[in-house]
Amino acid sequence: MSEAPDDLRYTKSHEWVRQNDDGTITVGITDNAQDQLGDMVYVEVPEIDKELEAEDACAVVESVKAASDIYAPVAGTVVEANEDLADSPEVVNQDPFGAGWIIKIRPVDSSAIDLLMDANAYQAFIEDEDH
């Protein structure tokens, strides 16, 4: 079974969300998602300051199998993007919850994060999806 750390929140489109001390959130794709997509060859990140609605397509991860959109888990503004992925997209496979993060967002309303799944709910969700 793929990993899903307890301190993160999760979406049905397989993004994870980490709440940072400065009020921003870090977003990446889950271990399950990277495993399904296979070897990453390219990650396209949004411009800084881009304003996003919840569920807006805001980045693209391209693997040897497919190119998939990354959706904003909550509404907010892009404050940082992981530029290192341009040269080493494989980090998304190697360390999806750490160095493989994709963007940081300053949410419009932090309480929206509480509506996302916790680790247990996400694990149940992907088990259900597998069947």
Binding site: Y42, E47, V64, A66, A67
Partner: protein, 456 residues
């Protein structure tokens, strides 16, 4: 690989495997009311004898006129070996077989084509071709909107010196995607885009500027100044070029300080016959930076598990068979057979041969313009041109040139409908295929018609 269709027996065997009696049964989910039934507008099939006769009769209708029309499709000499090779069984198919395990020859040929195009255009990357120049321009506009992330406006500056049909095609394809093509007028003296006319857009959010070279009038644009202006304003540069001209002129990759971002054009001048308007092929190149936004197929070189060179499609993850509605484009193929001819043509002529062909075409057009210039016919524009020029007539063109059609001469393309402000204007072209005698024939016949009109 063989291109034989399946036999009656193949069909029977396949149907029996899936447990169906007839092909018709495969469609029984479609309600009878939704089926069109008979195709009443489609005539009965003809046998070989009948179809050969019909096609020969139609071909004769075209005649073999002495042709001075360019306007987007150009008559160049095509060495016999080009189509001798292109029509060999190994290549001859309307379909491009991409399977790496079955098509190494075809894939290598496309790879060589891409390499030649990037060299000719001085660009980093080429795709395997598009449908034609006009739809290629539309693809370039869509690509610029995807790739230029500094711009949000989806507004593209489209000069009137771009081929009118290209502009119409681009408009049809992009207008329903909330993209605005902003018309840019041309200088009446030079027949080119006056760089000063762009200043009204400085500081505005513009996604891309289209720069034709040569432009529809045959005139050379100030590509360096235009390119630098665009980049200084965070605007993408889409070059629309004649590939033959690029053997002689500065290629788009070297325009200004940074070069064009995307290059498209019509590939027909490279070994494809006029053949009543098609099929032709479009080409597209871009900078490495934008390659993931490029539509269409790209063939890459790699190694197999034994370390031997091999060729395969690459960067497919963005295409519609994988990404569906989110694909970069609805084009998922290339014009394989025409690309085959173009690759053979370019390989045969080489850079020097292309350059000499381009130079001979330019020289011939200069001679033609000189021969045609007189009291009543004068060059419309005062700027340098490649192998086409606009001639303004003081007399009604219709009366001058219509009698020439009957004499099997096509004297040029009349611009009045697309550019009414130019009045009686004719776009003429003389490629390397025209001799001094050919040009004198046109000169003599036109002079005769002028005399007739003036004296009547």
């Amino acid at each position: 690989m063989p291109f034989n269709p399946q036999t009656e027996q193949d069909i029977r065997e396949m149907l029996s495997v899936i447990g169906v009696d007839a092909i018709e049964d495969l469609f029984d989910e479609i309600p009878a009311g939704l089926r069109c039934g008979e195709l009443s507008g489609v005539p009965e099939a003809l046998n070989e004898q009948e179809i050969t006769r019909l096609m020969l009769e139609r071909a004769e209708l075209d005649g073999r006129p002495l042709n001075f029309i360019g306007a987007g499709a150009y008559e160049h000499h095509i060495p016999a070996v080009v189509w001798e090779i292109a029509t060999r069984g190994e290549f001859y198919s309307a379909y491009t077989p991409y399977q790496a395990e079955a098509s190494q020859g075809t894939l290598q040929l496309i790879y060589e084509y891409q390499t030649m195009m990037t060299a000719l255009m001085a660009m980093d990357v080429s795709n395997a071709s598009l449908y034609d120049g006009a739809s290629g321009l539309a693809e370039a506009v869509l690509m610029a909107v995807r790739a230029n992330r500094k711009s949000k406006s989806r507004r593209v500056l489209m000069p009137r010196t771009v081929h009118p049909n290209y502009r119409k095609t681009a408009q049809s394809i992009v207008s329903d995607q909330a993209i605005e093509l902003v018309e840019l007028d041309y200088d009446r003296e030079g027949g080119h885009i006056d760089p000063a006319s762009l200043e009204q857009y400085a500081g505005e959010d513009i996604t891309a500027l289209v720069i034709p070279q040569p432009n529809f009038f045959g005139v050379l644009e100030e590509v360096n100044t235009l390119t630098d202006w665009a980049h200084a304003n965070n605007i993408f540069v889409i070059a629309v070029v004649n590939p033959m001209a690029m053997a002689l002129l500065k290629p788009p990759g070297k325009w200004g300080k940074e070069g064009a971002d995307i290059v498209v054009g019509e590939g027909q001048p490279l070994g494809v016959p006029l053949s009543s308007g098609g099929p032709y092929f479009g080409f597209m190149c871009c900078r490495q930076q934008w390659v993931r936004q490029m539509p269409g197929r790209i063939v890459g070189r790699t190694v197999d598990r034994d370390g031997r060179d091999g060729f395969t499609l690459t960067l497919q993850a963005r295409e519609q068979h994988i990404r569906r509605s989110k694909a970069t484009s609805n084009i998922c193929t290339n014009q394989g057979l025409l690309v085959t001819a173009a690759t053979i043509y370019m390989a045969l002529l080489g850079g020097e041969g292309l350059r000499r062909t381009a130079l001979a075409s330019h020289t011939n057009t200069s001679i033609l313009v000189e021969k045609l210039s007189n009291e009543y016919l004068q060059p419309q524009f005062n700027r340098p041109y490649f192998h086409e020029a606009v001639i303004h007539s003081a007399l009604p063109l219709k009366d001058l040139i219509r009698p020439l059609y009957a004499q099997n001469i096509q004297p040029g393309f009349v611009l009045t409908e697309d550019y009414p402000e130019l009045g009686e204007s004719l776009l003429v072209c003389a490629t390397e295929t025209k001799t001094e005698d050919d040009m004198s024939v046109l000169q003599d016949r036109l002079l005769r018609m002028i005399d007739k009109q003036v004296s009547s």
